[in-house]
């Protein structure tokens, strides 16, 4: 059985004013179902780019990204949309909740975009799971940072994706809120079997990971499997 996520010799080059900038170089790694992988490294080392490639939001310049053995580069636009809806969830450092929607509507959004991929009531269940059911009718500006990130996790998991890409999920939170968020991420991997890839600077965040991948200047310098 293939790993849930596999990157084979992935490189990514951007062109800036005619000059080629390689942000990732020959990255190969894999993640099994229900595991948490932490991507560690300084700002600009390529963590976010790697998350985007792994979440099928972007494509490598060379190499392959395989999700359950299928190369994302070979998928059509509609297949990619389907993949993002059903298989991948994202959590961002700055929460990225839509300010015009209520908390419940924010969580419901991927479900609605995917034409009700999950059963009705899933959004409420996820909110309950992150402990914010009573905030369902609130708007994001009425929540604290920690609460917003928990809503973002509920949203990312509403369609029960196989993969969750988390980009500095605690980077904008105080310690207590960060701990709550990390506990939720860990639980989602354990309870729902979600494969989590998390970019982070934080040692606390890295501590919940099954695999720690250190990056420097777009290259893997170490892979730590405890």
């Amino acid at each position: 059985m293939p790993p849930r996520l596999e990157l084979r010799g992935v490189s990514k080059t951007y062109h800036d004013g005619g000059q080629a900038v390689e942000v990732l170089h020959d990255i190969s790694l894999s993640a099994a179902s229900g595991t948490v992988t932490a991507l560690l490294g300084r700002s600009g080392c390529g963590k976010t780019t790697l998350l985007n490639l792994a979440g099928a939001m972007d494509f490598p310049s060379t190499g392959e990204v395989l999700i359950d053995g299928r190369n994302t580069g070979s998928l059509s636009e509609s297949e990619l949309t389907g993949l993002r809806r059903k298989r991948v969830g994202f959590v961002f450092q700055f929460f990225q909740l839509l300010p015009t929607l209520t908390v419940l509507e924010n969580v419901e959004l991927p479900r609605m975009l995917g034409h009700a991929l999950s059963p009705p009531g899933t959004a409420r269940e996820r909110l309950q799971w992150v402990g914010l059911e009573e905030k369902a009718a609130s708007f994001p500006y009425q929540l604290s940072g920690g609460q917003m990130q928990r809503v973002a996790i509920a949203r990312a998991l509403v369609n029960s994706p196989d993969l969750l890409m988390a980009d500095e999920p605690t980077g904008n939170l105080d310690t207590a809120s960060g701990d709550q968020v990390l506990a939720l991420l860990r639980e989602s991997a354990t309870r729902f079997g979600t494969t989590i890839v998390m970019a982070t600077h934080s040692a606390e965040a890295a501590a919940i990971a099954d695999v720690k991948v250190s990056l420097r200047d777009g290259r893997i310098v170490s892979i730590d499997r405890p």
């Binding site: 979440g55 961002f92 975009l113 500006y141």
Partner: protein, 842 residues
């Protein structure tokens, strides 16, 4: 001045980087805004230039023939020739030249002005030419332009019809005429051709160099009857301009619609500019920029749009004027007076007025957002969300203002006309627009709430609806701009539709005769070419004719305004017609009371213009006498805003015995074959240049003239709608660019590009719907102002309210559809955004 003193090299650097560079990098939006201003100014300039060209050419072609005169003497129904001898006996160095003026029908050239004048004097002022032969045919001087057009040479002969009679002319001279076209013959020949012996239309007075014109005028006035009018030669042109002032004023007001719509869009553009650069403004303020620098920056941006747009608009307006002049000229000729369109000339005054107007409108529109930018605190780098949150909180205050403007609008609509202009009506219309604009945020929120059930569970609809309320300040400006354009379209549509229906109903009751006979000349308002005297007896002798109602029309002057003095057989009108009088006036009694008495009926516009009511007495100069006429009633009439005074033919014959019949209405006996009667008339009047028009055709022609008259109105409406559409596209594009992050996020959350397009198109549809709703409500309000205030005060007509439902529904659907189309490009831009880039930018 403080603002200007603060404008330094640093300010220029800030302006260049914060304003010019973003404009340069967003060429489509910049171009759309400039184009909106350009179209608004172009329409204003085009209407001004075309109006001048179409109505400014009243200078008589006589002037080119006989030279400049100092005074002219005119009289209703013509001047008795005997007064000429009395004038010539005055001991002044002055020449008195009699003139007879009519139209000749020249095959191949149409209707041409023909002057009968003292040929000895005319010959003295024209270039003498060799070889003019002596013949018994009337000698004619032909304007060079007409001769060239017809290929005529000196000493050649040609045929023309005067008062229905064929006359063969011998060309004695070809006179240099500039752009004028005319024929001039000896006054005796003209009087003979017209059968108007002893009558002349005008006496031109030339005062000698050493003579005091004021003294000459006083002496002339002393000996002539008091009903005769002594005026400066430009008086007729001034009279024409005065007569057209309401028409031109209303046209000019309509031309400003596009500019008003454009003003909303500049407001929107500058608001977007401020919102986008809020953080940058905060930083600038933190590093020492003054408030006035920030204000000047955004006003500078607006000024740039205004000046560049207006400069383009002036050029575009000059081009548009060329196509518009014929339309305006057609209306002037159909409804007011005969005029020949002159050349369109773009003067530096018009150019500067256009540019200054563009700049001022842009500055005025940008003032509110620029002031808001000025208030951004140095520490403030607020998000749009917070700004929009404030906008949402302000909707109640805006609604209060809306109510205040609505009340002020009602108050303004009650005002009397100012110097003949419906100023109150227009102020009321502007206040209504302001009221609707202020109500827009509340309406957006209300409709959004009311339609919440429609978007429940529909993600595209939900996101679109929420996004529009989230950008409330911007959404409501776009709605106000589109709604203004729609309202103007709807209100003018309702006004024109109601007017058309009123005219159609009026034609139905007014035109009861079976056939109408008139001289075969192109129709022209204020021109009453005579029927040959032989025609009336022929009409009466034809089998199947039950009654012939002959009409005598003569243009006359009343209190400095021109109108028509008409006469007919009012007993026939009573028996056969269905003339309608104002409520409470007894038609039968009124029409019975006219024959044999110095009584008149007046048309509604005449009564309104001069403040006349039934029972009043009018003093109308007829020939040498001033005749007091008791007003028996006021009747509905829609063919002339100048108005009619109608007497019985017996009254006309008593005071103006030589007045020729100008047209006739034929009533057939019941069951008679109308076609056969028409054929008979055509056959027996073949030599008299007569046109016979059946009832149905005359009605059709009248409606066609009506439709042509309002064609320009529709063209102006169309431009306003185009400007609004550009605005819709511009605003939707701004919404897309401002929501890049949100749209990118949706892609991360699994939205397909079709869903993203769907959101933007749904927003466009929602904007179109809201604008249609507000526009229709506002349009109804403005149509009431146009019908019952502006029209009534400008033209004096009573228009019945008949909204053209199908036309309005079609137009609204069309505007809605085009608004959705306007969303296509922004939708495409939205769907092509790279989510990774836009999320990463954050």
């Amino acid at each position: 001045m403080t603002m200007l003193r603060g404008w330094t090299l640093e300010s220029w650097f800030v302006f260049r980087t914060l304003i010019l560079r973003p404009l340069w990098h967003d060429p489509l939006r910049t171009a759309l805004t400039i184009l909106s201003v350009a179209l608004g100014i172009a329409v204003v300039v085009a209407i001004d230039l075309a109006g001048d060209a179409a109505t400014g050419s009243f200078r008589s072609s006589m002037e080119t023939l006989a030279g400049k005169t100092d005074l002219e003497i005119v009289a209703n129904g013509g001047i008795n020739e005997t007064w000429l001898a009395a004038l010539s006996s005055l001991l002044f160095d002055a020449q008195f030249s009699p003139v007879v003026e009519t139209q000749a029908l020249v095959p191949g050239a149409g209707s041409v002005p023909l002057y009968g004048m003292d040929m000895l004097r005319a010959a003295a002022s024209a270039e003498p030419q060799e070889g003019s032969a002596t013949t018994d045919k009337p000698h004619v001087v032909v304007a060079r332009r007409l001769a060239d057009k017809m290929g005529w040479k000196r000493a050649q002969t040609f045929n023309a019809k005067i008062a229905g009679r064929k006359v063969e002319f011998h060309i004695a001279f070809i006179a240099e005429s500039g752009s004028a076209e005319y024929l001039a013959i000896d006054i005796a020949d003209a009087q003979q051709a017209l059968g108007r012996f002893g009558k002349i239309d005008r006496i031109d007075v030339n005062v000698g160099h050493d003579e005091d014109p004021i003294k000459v005028e006083a002496a002339v006035r002393k000996i002539l009857p008091s009903g005769y009018l002594i005026q400066k030669p430009g008086a007729r042109s001034e009279e024409n301009q005065r007569m057209l002032k309401a028409f031109r004023w209303n046209l000019r007001a309509l031309s400003y619609i596009s500019l008003v719509v454009g003003a909303f869009l500049i407001y929107n553009t500058i608001s977007v500019s401020v919102v986008r650069r809020r953080a940058a403004i905060g930083i600038l303020r933190a590093v020492g920029a003054t408030r006035s620098t920030v204000l000047a920056m955004f006003l500078g941006e607006a000024l740039l749009f205004g000046i560049v747009g207006a400069a383009l608009g002036v050029g575009l307006g000059r081009l548009l004027a060329g196509g518009t002049v014929e339309l305006i000229s057609g209306t002037v000729n159909a409804l007011y007076t005969t005029s020949r369109p002159g050349a369109v000339s773009l003067t530096s005054t018009v150019t500067w007025i256009g540019i200054v107007t563009g700049a001022l409108v842009a500055l005025a529109s940008a003032l509110a957002p620029a002031r808001e930018a000025m208030t951004v605190a140095p520490t403030e780098a607020m998000s749009r969300g917070a700004h929009e949150h404030h906008a949402r909180l302000r909707w109640r205050r805006a609604l209060l203002w809306s109510a205040i403007f609505a009340l002020l609008s009602i108050a303004a609509s009650q005002a009397s006309p100012l110097n003949g202009y419906p100023v109150g009506g227009y102020i009321a219309a502007v206040l209504s627009i302001a009221s609707a604009a202020m109500a827009s945020p509340a309406i957006v929120l209300l409709v959004n709430k009311a339609t919440r059930w429609m978007v429940r569970g529909r993600v595209v609809g939900l996101l679109a609806a929420r996004s529009l309320t989230a950008s409330l300040s911007r959404t409501s400006v776009v709605v106000a701009a589109l709604a203004t354009a729609i309202a103007m379209m709807a209100s003018v549509g309702i006004m024109v539709g109601s007017f058309r229906e009123t005219v159609a109903l009026w034609l139905d009751v007014q035109l009861r005769a079976d056939l109408y006979v008139s001289p075969a000349m192109p129709p022209g308002a204020g021109a009453y070419p005579p029927l040959a005297p032989e025609v009336e007896p022929i009409l009466r002798s034809i089998d199947g004719v039950a009654a012939v109602d002959v009409f005598y029309g003569v243009e006359f002057h009343y209190h400095g305004e021109r109108a028509t003095l008409g006469a007919g057989d009012l007993e026939i009108v009573r028996r056969y017609g269905r003339m309608r009088f104002l409520p409470g006036q007894d038609r039968e009694g009124i029409l019975r009371s006219l024959p044999g008495h110095d009584r008149a009926i007046v048309s509604e516009p005449f009564a309104n213009k001069h403040g006349i009511h039934a029972g009043d007495t009018l003093t109308v100069p007829m020939g040498d006498a001033n005749i007091p006429l008791e007003v028996a009633g006021v009747y509905y009439e829609y063919s002339s805003s100048q108005g009619y005074v109608i007497v019985d033919r017996s009254t006309m014959s008593r005071y103006l015995p030589q007045q020729p019949v100008t047209n006739a209405a034929i009533y057939a006996v019941p069951g008679a074959n109308i076609d056969r009667i028409q054929q008979q008339i055509q056959l027996r009047t073949a030599n008299y240049g007569v046109a016979v028009t059946p009832n149905r055709e005359l009605r059709r022609n009248a409606i066609a003239v009506f439709d042509r008259t309002f064609a320009i109105t529709w063209a102006l409406e169309a431009v306003a709608v185009v400007v609004a559409m550009l605005g819709a596209a511009n605003s939707l594009l701004a919404l897309v660019l401002d929501r890049k992050r949100e749209l990118g996020l949706l892609r991360y959350l699994g939205a397909s590009s079709r869903q993203i397009q769907g959101i933007i198109l749904t927003e466009a549809a929602f904007l179109g719907f809201l604008s249609g709703l507000v526009g229709l409500l506002l349009g109804f309000a403005i149509s009431l102002l146009l019908i019952f205030v502006v029209n009534k005060q400008s033209f004096g007509w009573t228009i019945q309210f008949h909204p053209p439902g199908v036309l309005l529904a079609g137009a609204l659907f069309f505007v809605w559809f085009v608004t959705v189309l306007a969303g296509l490009y922004p939708a495409r831009v939205a769907s092509r955004l790279n989510p990774v880039d836009v999320i990463h930018e954050e």
